[in-house]
């Protein structure tokens, strides 16, 4: 099987459905459990220490 000949799913699925799936992909990725963007300079208080988040690395 090569990249261009399609696999089991693409052969069985109507083209319209594949296009719909591709359109939906970015929206679905929002629901993926991605780590939040962290600011390394954010001030955090841990065990009484006033630290930068990057100190905890």
């Amino acid at each position: 099987m090569t990249f261009f000949t399609g696999n089991f799913f693409t052969r069985k699925m109507p083209r319209r459905m594949i296009v719909q799936m591709l359109i939906a992909l970015p929206a679905l990725s929002l629901f993926r459990n991605q780590p939040a963007v962290v600011d390394p300079d954010e001030i955090v208080e841990v065990n009484g220490w006033i630290l930068k988040r990057s100190d905890l690395a």
């Binding site: 300079d41 001030i43 208080e45 841990v46 065990n47 009484g48 220490w49 006033i50 630290l51 930068k52 100190d55 905890l56 690395a57």
Partner: protein, 479 residues
């Protein structure tokens, strides 16, 4: 002239226009100002030239509320007053300390810092101070300030020869003013106690009480009680709004480079908040004293940091091997919110040898102060971290809301308020010239007139206010 007894003074037939009670920094400074203006002054001093247990006993009292020093330990009753054991730390209240704070009731003075600025050159001479450098902002929130340790001038020793040689000033030792008598307009005389007995009444045109930040309230409360309100006609605030500078070890800091802050001879540096930070967090003023820590303590601190931030700890320990002086203890002293409930009362059961009721001091730290302590350390820690100057660890009891430790100093021996300055006669005792509201000839010198305490030690401001009062009274008398 200095007289060792009231009898010797009487025999000298010295006629005084002004009678000052107490020869501490306030009384001595006012006397020197008036003497220099050619006005005859008598300074009645309860103690002698030296410390004695017998004299100290008159200062005994009790405290209700938070633990405080014994009242006969926290001050000295002999010539020169508590300047005989003060540490000599000097700084004048900042201009922001005189301003009202919307978030803290009963703050704000009827005068501004500009009113005492003209007297600072004199104060520098008296306390033997070099010039202060301007504050250095290290962030929008924190200022690196300067406290200067003066040679801790002992007023009794330093000015004894000058006072003895003066033709206009008579200092009378061993002479305790037990009460003032008044008719609601004027003080008519002072009742004296000398040589273990009543020594009769003494009169002068003007009286200034300079008996210290606890004793001024006691003397006026007792005098007022005896003369049915004839000494302080508006007495609602008398004895109230008493303040100290609570002081506790607040934590530690590891500094990236200890040389970042130029420390003084005692390896200390001082920090305070900006007005904007106080306003944003709705807290009182505070001072953080950073003191270099001995080497073993540094290692312990870094070990503690390693549990939380191992990389940071590793970096710090590499710095440590290059520079052995990179950690510090942090002491915090803060401004108390002025509260009418913090007050000096007269004991109903206990009197001194002369029959004057002893002090019952009601003193409690407030929630606002507790917040000032925690938020103040957070501000300082945040500034150090953001500027990469170091890292702060706040003491557990502060972070956890635990009780104040009982094994520490607790406060600064700074007795402020009780006869505070103001325009509202229900919330103050003296006016902007330190004259008791409603009285023509009664003034108050010393930190009992402070409306708020700021964060710094009081004696520099006391001396400046004393110069100002001396100047003012000199002009009043000359008219």
């Amino acid at each position: 002239m200095i007289f060792d007894s009231y009898e010797a003074f009487r025999a000298a037939n010295f006629t005084a226009k002004v009678c000052i009670l107490g020869s501490g920094p306030a009384g001595t400074t006012i006397a020197r100002k008036l003497g220099a203006a050619g006005i005859p002054v008598v300074v009645l001093e309860a103690g002698s030239r030296e410390f004695s247990d017998e004299s100290q006993d008159f200062y005994r009292g009790t405290t209700v509320g938070d633990p405080y020093f014994d009242l006969d330990i926290t001050r000295l009753r002999f010539m020169g007053g508590s300047s005989n054991h003060w540490a000599g730390w000097c700084r004048v209240l900042d201009s922001q300390d005189f301003e009202p704070k919307a978030w803290a009731p009963d703050t704000g003075w009827p005068i501004s810092r500009a009113d005492i600025d003209p007297y600072l050159p004199e104060v520098h001479d008296i306390l033997e101070l070099p010039d202060f450098r301007p504050d250095v902002p290290i962030s929008d929130d924190i200022r690196w300030i300067q406290l200067i340790k003066s040679p801790a001038v002992r007023f009794g020793e330093k000015f004894a020869d000058e006072l003895d040689a003066s033709r206009n000033i008579a200092v009378v030792l061993n002479t305790y003013a037990t009460e003032l008598a008044g008719d609601g307009k004027r003080v008519t005389g002072a009742r004296l106690w000398s040589n273990g007995q009543d020594a009769g009444a003494f009169s002068a045109d003007y009286f200034i009480t300079c008996t210290g930040g606890l004793e001024n309230s006691r003397l006026l409360l007792w005098s007022n009680q005896r003369s049915n309100g004839g000494v302080v006609p508006n007495a609602t605030a008398l004895g109230r709004y008493w303040m100290e500078h609570p002081t506790f070890e607040g934590g530690n800091a590891i500094l990236a480079d200890y040389g970042e802050f130029e420390v003084d001879a005692d390896n200390e540096a001082f920090f305070s908040p900006t007005l904007a930070a106080m306003e944003r967090l709705q807290i009182m003023n505070f001072g953080i004293r950073l003191i270099e820590t001995p080497y073993p303590h540094v290692k312990r601190l870094i070990a503690d940091l390693a549990c939380t931030a191992p990389d940071m700890a590793e970096w710090m320990s590499s710095r440590l091997s290059q520079n052995l002086r990179c950690a510090a203890q942090l002491y915090v002293a803060w401004e108390q919110a002025p509260l009418a409930s913090n007050q000096i009362e007269l004991s109903k059961t206990d009197v001194d040898h002369a029959g004057v009721p002893r002090i019952e001091l009601h003193w409690k730290k407030s929630e606002l102060e507790r917040r000032t302590l925690l938020e103040g350390l957070r501000l300082f820690g945040t500034t150090l971290a953001q500027k990469n100057l170091g890292r702060v660890r706040i003491a557990d009891w502060i972070g956890n809301g635990g009780d104040y430790p009982t094994n520490e100093e607790t406060a600064g021996h700074h007795h402020m308020g009780g006869t505070r300055m103001g325009t509202d006669v229900t919330r103050s005792v003296v006016d902007a010239n330190c004259k008791v509201h409603g009285m023509d000839n009664l003034y108050v010198g010393g930190s009992s007139v402070f409306c708020t305490s700021g964060e710094c030690n009081p004696t520099t401001t006391i001396t400046a206010l004393a110069c100002r009062l001396g100047d003012h009274l000199g002009k009043v008398i000359a008219v």
